[in-house]
Symmetry: C2
Subunit: 278 residues, 2 copies
């Protein structure tokens, strides 16, 4: 099986590494408009060969688009124009915009909309690692629009990556992603901005940066290339979550400013119920 | 050296373990008004013997109070009433209230106000572990009020725990702690509440809980017994931070609702500067 990966970053690179290593792919063709990334991917043996888009499509049995969301929205119709009957899979973390971009395309049925829920705060091919996806979950969206073969191909890929599979639709996916993934990033970005602003006056503030702060602010290191279009495209859901999140912060603020010990305590005990989940 | 640890939880227990193991303490006396915690501490060999408060004070060369902040505020004057010239050390994460509680006490000079910046989201003696403090930082506050011997004793303890030491005052400490530690906890608590509320309607939302969410929400599991009095006692600083944090969230919200790609991008790039620090 020949696989072309478009976008040789954290996600595309990590997929390529394990699909090759686990003998699902015979050959990985890489497409990347960032020359340095392409060179790094060859050096790291993430890709066997770098090609242009047309050659990559022609050579592949399966095409994985692993670019940031905005690039994917432009590329995907073009890729579908050019394929025969190969399976095309994307990995973007907002799905409605992606599905919408090809909803009337005559080759829509060959495109599987997926979202492997894995990653780190790092980016680029140098961030790609083996085992990134093991034990994690992939969402497959709107598979009723796909050929049986396309869905089976996507399933085989994600099984090779040792992932659990959940089928859903693009709308539900995006609501859930806003609440569980996208808001985590925004809360971390805002925390970083808050502390960096204070640092202007208080130079030694980071002597205090312990494990708790590091864990909460970790995602603030995430790539703006990746996250800007996701926040833009999933705006309606994300704004709803920011509103709820701000309400919860205000509940804390009021309880604290009134020194209402019972209220602070009950808010924390309620939050502790997250132990059920993680 | 005999050490009495009052409050055999995560912090007190972890201190006891390494002070004994590293031969700084010959004997650890434990005081805890939670009988189960006391029993667990004996079983886990965190303490050699459980005593009442008066015996614990009488037996000890050094007394460490590692209770939640509200209990410490009540206990500390009583302990100072009862000591001769032993060193007393607290570990609370808000320092002004603690220092204030004994500011006019005739034995104030024997009390060292400290804050070892280490911990996990777990609590109780069963959460106590060796090496918790290795490589982390402890703040010593207002040491100009102490006898030389008391400060030297505190330093030896934290050196034994392999910690870096920073001297500061209670007011600066509490501002910095609000910005780097306390807000991290509030942002996590609020995130947990946001997602738990949404879960009432969307049962499958937690299928999406990936590594990013887990990292950001980890602190939401923290003990309300410990955190309620800290948020109450450091209220003024914490409210200032919540206000700044809410402003940053609103900047994101406005940029996203206007689909202002340049603004979203520049906010994320600004937040990325946290890489300098962690």
């Amino acid at each position: 099986m020949n696989i072309t990966v478009i976008g040789l970053g954290l996600i595309g690179g990590s997929m390529a590494i394990d699909l090759k290593k686990r003998n699902f792919a015979n050959k990985i063709f890489g497409v990347d408009n960032n020359k340095k990334h392409a060179e790094t991917a060859i050096k790291m043996k993430i890709a066997d060969e770098i090609t242009d888009l047309d050659t990559g499509i022609k050579n592949a049995d399966i095409i994985i688009t692993a670019t940031p969301l905005d690039a994917c929205l432009k590329l995907l119709p073009e890729i579908l124009d050019k394929i025969n009957e190969q399976t095309v899979i994307d990995v973007c973390s907002a799905k409605h915009a992606v599905c919408n971009s090809v909803k009337s395309h005559p080759k829509r049925k060959y495109f599987v909309a997926s979202h492997p829920m894995a990653g780190t705060e790092h980016s680029g091919p140098q961030a790609a690692v083996s085992h990134l996806f093991d034990g994690k979950t992939t969402f497959l969206c709107n598979t009723e629009k796909n050929t049986k073969k396309a869905v089976e191909t996507a399933k085989k890929i994600y099984k090779t990556l040792n992932m659990k599979l959940i089928k859903t639709d693009d709308i539900s996916h995006d609501i859930h992603a806003a609440f569980v993934s996208h808001i985590s990033h925004i809360s971390s970005f805002a925390l970083a901005l808050t502390v960096l602003e204070k640092e202007k006056d208080e130079k030694h503030i980071f002597n205090m940066a312990g494990g708790g702060f590091k864990s909460t602010v970790r995602l603030a290191k995430s790539s703006s290339d990746m996250w800007t279009p996701v926040l833009e495209q999933n705006a309606a859901n994300i704004i709803e979550v920011i509103n709820t999140y701000t309400e919860k912060l205000q509940e804390f603020k009021h309880a604290i400013s009134e020194k209402n010990r019972n209220k602070i305590n009950s808010l924390i005990l309620e939050a502790n119920k997250i132990k059920r989940i993680i």
